[in-house]
Symmetry: C2
């Protein structure tokens, strides 16, 4: 039940032979989330050997083509593969009209329901919540309405200390869940067994923030404070700061400042302009400010660990 | 000025790691035509080293996703690459609404005009005509309105026989075009030089027919009679004839019957169901009826020659 991030594509604007536009596959607490879906994402998912059928929630940051043009094909393939499970799609207002127009004209008859969660708030919202995971929007500053997404594991159950528990015959298996949940046990003679004695600390809960596309934007700092892994766009080197500002993007140096100020565990850069053949230039620029910076390693699952 | 066909993708329904959905790049008499545009076509064009910028005419057979989901991304990339030349898009009614909805919602502001030629006739029409090439629709029988396309080179100029022409000083360079066009020359003394003496036969004009997707359909025979190369879908082996009929497709055996009855030069099969790992089974089935059958060779230009 570890959390793994598989970056499927990370280039900006135009797909090339060797790199795909933005898409990520996040496996957290046995949920499979897809984040953005540029053209070709379904083939990237196959290359990554990700299980299509487990994706029940897709989060789209914004409606520029390099972040969403793979959606119609992916959903059409779900149908051809016999999917019946409802699919939740989160994204800016307009995503429903676009997809439903495409499905109507291409006669993509679905055997499953697509449930749209259209976003328009400029404030962070909790948009997904179950017993183990929650997801929040991270309002970004791009040329078009855009959200990043924050994925958080909720606090986990404490681990049973069986060596200790087995000393008390009257503690039955059916009582274990209460102990995992942190409750003390009152024995039949009235003696109170403190939970700390019966359990060990839970596994840490990890968090992941996806921030693309955006200008340098300090207003996200409180939302992403302390996340274990931050993926932040860095379309340009800082020498093209004016270009970044004009086009609604961030420089590698700026992404590192955000990571440092937010005390994140690790920064992964992405959404690089096609002008850069040597991506290490971007990584090295960021490392001047925030040493725990990495380039994305496409199709290779990254374990997200508590820092 | 030879004619080359580059098949970019030929699988049906779902893109896989090793094969792309339908798209073809046809270079005929210095025109560059794109036929169908499944998801990922722009990357296939890059792999084939085809010159994007020369594509001014796109012909879409039908509005199923595996034949058109690559269009929004390709057109968005044209914009990002600075295109200014108008782009002509031919396809079924609905293609304009679909693309314009996508472009509005994704804020794909184009620096060039997209000129839509929406098709709805069930009869063959000439839809493109210039001094060297003409294109006709081939009405097909699929689950949704669908056309194949017939591309024909017009008769070419005769070749000058310079050894003969140079014997007559009074024939000036400015008169060559008339000779190429087949005219006789009247010398100043009234002597008539027959054109056949001054020229050699023109290079043959070639033709190419694209037929996908369709049920077995003999009504196309007169339209494709004698074409040099026929690409015809063969989604299934003939043992799945009922499945082919139900889903609106053709078997390899049937495609071969069409090729034989239409006296074509060469048959290329395509649009294979993903159930077939060994495509030679389909080729071998067709060769029983029509020996000049080939499997598509993706990304490798095929010279279309007169037969």
């Amino acid at each position: 039940m570890s959390t793994y991030l598989t970056i499927l594509g990370y280039n900006s604007a135009i797909p090339t032979i060797n790199s795909a536009p933005t898409a990520q596959f996040l496996e957290m607490e046995e949920r499979s989330f897809l984040i953005d879906c540029g053209e070709g994402t379904q083939v990237q998912l196959r290359k990554a050997k990700a299980r299509f059928s487990k994706i029940n929630h897709i989060f789209i940051s914004h409606l520029h083509g390099d972040h969403c043009f793979g959606l119609p094909g992916l959903i059409a393939s779900f149908r051809l593969l016999g999917r019946e499970t409802p699919l939740h799609v989160y994204g800016p207002v307009g995503i429903k009209e676009m997809l439903e127009t495409i499905f109507r004209i291409t006669e993509t008859h679905r055997g499953f329901e697509v449930i749209y969660h259209e976003l328009s708030s400029k404030q962070s919202e909790k948009i997904y919540d179950d017993k183990r995971v929650e997801v929040f929007t991270i309002p970004l500053d791009h040329r078009i309405y855009c959200n990043g997404y924050l994925f958080r594991e909720k606090p986990k159950e404490r681990h049973l200390n069986m060596a200790e528990i087995s000393k008390y015959e009257e503690i039955q298996t059916c009582g274990y869940q209460n102990i995992k949940n942190g409750k003390d046990i009152v024995l039949s003679d009235g003696y109170v067994l403190k939970n700390e004695k019966l359990t060990n600390a839970p596994s840490p809960s990890v968090s992941y923030a996806f921030c693309s596309d955006t200008r340098y934007n300090e207003s996200i700092l409180s939302l992403i404070d302390g996340v274990d892994v931050l993926y932040h766009e860095s379309t340009f080197l800082h020498e093209l700061k004016k270009m970044a500002e004009y086009t609604g993007h961030t420089t590698a140096l700026e992404a590192a400042h955000i990571a440092k100020m937010a005390n994140v565990g690790k920064l992964i850069l992405g959404h690089f302009s096609n002008r850069y053949n040597d991506l290490e230039l971007l990584r090295d620029e960021a490392r001047q400010i925030f040493p725990e910076t990495e380039l994305p390693n496409a199709l290779v699952p990254l374990k997200i660990e508590s820092h």
